[in-house]
Symmetry: C2
Subunit: 182 residues, 2 copies
């Protein structure tokens, strides 16, 4: 069934994708973003440059896909029965992720290469946040809107990771949750 080969899990296509994603993350952790090019990525992944050009078209496309995958599904949404505790655990997990220099390097490269409009670097963070708020409402509790929560919780985490050199201590993260829920 040649027509389904390209999407079969574990097939050649999936292996190429995994190798290329891995090469991107490795190269970005070793080099400044401007030195990471499609031919270099292809060489590291052990695939022909033409394969990479044909499949992803541009470095921006590839970085966007890596970022989407990197920032999605990686963090388990907690379900402790308490909104405050869920938000604290989740936000501390996000802050730990954003404290990793390799994560920041991928974000910087993705932001730098993207033309305009949005960025894959938030992945499904808004959906994860919304799930916790919605669960609280379904329990009959009160919860802020997802936009308010993103402004109060997600924004400071990403801002601090990108624009400052300050560490993200758990105490600071809990303070953000406290301000949101007060």
């Amino acid at each position: 069934m040649p027509s389904t080969t390209s999407t079969r899990p574990g097939g050649r296509s999936a292996r190429v994708r995994a190798a290329v994603h891995h090469a991107v993350e490795e190269l970005l952790s070793e080099n400044p973003a401007e030195a990471v090019t499609l031919p270099l990525i292809a060489a590291r992944a052990g695939v022909h440059p033409t394969t990479v050009y044909r499949r992803w078209g541009s470095l921006a496309e590839l970085l966007s896909e890596v970022a989407t995958s990197r920032f999605s599904g990686d963090i388990v949404v907690p379900d402790s029965g308490s909104l405050r505790e869920d938000l604290e655990r989740w936000a501390i997990d996000v802050s730990t992720d954003l404290s990793d220099p390799d994560t920041v390097a991928l974000m910087r490269a993705t932001l730098g290469s993207a033309a305009e409009g949005g960025c894959a670097c938030v992945g499904d963070r808004h959906a994860q946040l919304d799930a916790m708020l919605e669960r609280e409402r379904s329990r009959g509790g009160k919860a802020p809107g997802v936009q308010t929560a993103a402004d109060a919780l997600l924004s400071p985490l990403y801002y601090r990771a990108l624009f400052t050199t300050e560490p993200m201590e758990p105490g600071w993260v809990r303070g953000l949750v406290r301000n949101l829920l007060r």
Copy 2:
């Protein structure tokens, strides 16, 4: 006095700096960041590439200087006598600036080229914020700390500009100030 030439305001050095900064902003508004190189910037500014290499060393250095200058001293800190009104006016000015695609292009390029640690894209925003909060305290009023204010006001503005495609309406900005001061 040849030894003072390089810092004399209005001298050749200042003209070169202005031309190069202008060239960076122009080129970034016309091209994807990865296409903007030091030789291209030198050509647009009408200066020899060696001059640019000697003075700034790298594209990252140059972009960082342009961003620092671009995000500093551009917005007048208001002094209305009311902290809430000052913060609203200032934050709306910041949001207007961050709504400009050229501003976002410069931010993306600067973030993309920077190695790690902080970013010049906030310029003196923290100092401006601190000045308004300090003034309120010196009037005998109460004001949140600058870190709390940066988390609640600056972060959402920069996050929305970089990571989302949502517009920054004045009503939303006023809501951020309301949440900070409640």
